[in-house]
Amino acid sequence: MASVKGIGIVESPNVTVIGDSVRVRGNLSGDEDLHVLGRVDGRIDLQRTLIVAPTGIVKAEVVVKNAIVSGVVVGNLRATESVEITREGRMVGDIFAPRVIIVDGASFRGSVDMGDIENMPVRKPSAERPRPAMTARPAAPPAARAPAPAPARPATPTPPPARPTPPPTPAAPPPPQAEEEEEEEIEDGPPELSTEPPAAKGLPQKAQKARVVVKRR
């Protein structure tokens, strides 16, 4: 079957697509994934996942199982599982969902209600996150956007050099002294490489330390 141009969506029997020049006004309900590349005004009621592509605009009261917002959503969003606003996503409205993921770069105005927080079970982050087979994210825009955010957030480029540094731990845990030495080695790295203002240095170093400790466990 045909694929939607520019976005890696491959049609399957259980996916509904609202193309980028299409506008739907009214109530939309169903039991399958919905990709919105165009515009929907009104109400959306789904038992599955709503994916608002970067070109998509949804001005609606939305009730779904999962929602992934890479476009624009104006209205309240209620999900029985999760809501994710990606870095291209923009949303104004209130979110009611047990899991809400808002990534760096996303813009959001409204309130978040995750329900009964006190009695919530502990869960691993990023475990069985709703990922449709295809990501509704075109290849081009991130590359095009990259130059703009880079100077604004000096913290982001630094982590990569730190990643490979911790050597694979042998079966026996190393003595605590060795651990300290290695951590220092890692800390030495970034200051030489980076030409950032001192204020910006603190963050990546802390992040690296945390990462090393986590790996040891």
């Binding site: 939607v4 141009k5 520019g6 697509v17 299409v22 006004r25 939309l28 309900s29 169903g30 399958e32």
Partner: protein, 104 residues
């Protein structure tokens, strides 16, 4: 141009407008206005007034169709309503009740 598909389980009550082909496998009630082709597949149910360039009906349509180019009722198609289009094709097996207007 992207393809718009309304899947089997989807029900839309309202209005659809656009400039691209639309395939309906689910249910649409209200109004459809397109500058491209509308395809109502076997499982599709449309209760709407339709204005498009070209319509292909293999499912169920209730409402009036106005097409700039052509309306095709396929063998599996069932349609109740009036059709206005310069070219109208009704296949053997199709069910149709309504007026036909082929005036340009």
């Amino acid at each position: 141009m992207a393809n718009t598909v309304i899947g089997n389980t989807i029900v839309i009550d309202g209005e659809i407008t656009g400039d691209e082909d639309l395939t309906i496998r689910g249910t649409v009630k209200g109004r459809i206005s397109l500058s491209a082709s509308l395809i109502v597949e076997n499982s599709g149910v449309v209760e709407a007034d339709i204005e498009t360039k070209h319509v292909e009906v293999s499912g169920n349509v209730t409402g009036n169709i106005t097409a700039i180019e052509k309306v095709e009722l396929k063998a599996d198609g069932r349609m109740v309503g009036d059709i206005k289009a310069p070219r109208i094709l009704i296949a053997d097996g199709a069910v149709f009740k309504g007026n036909v207007d082929m005036e340009r």
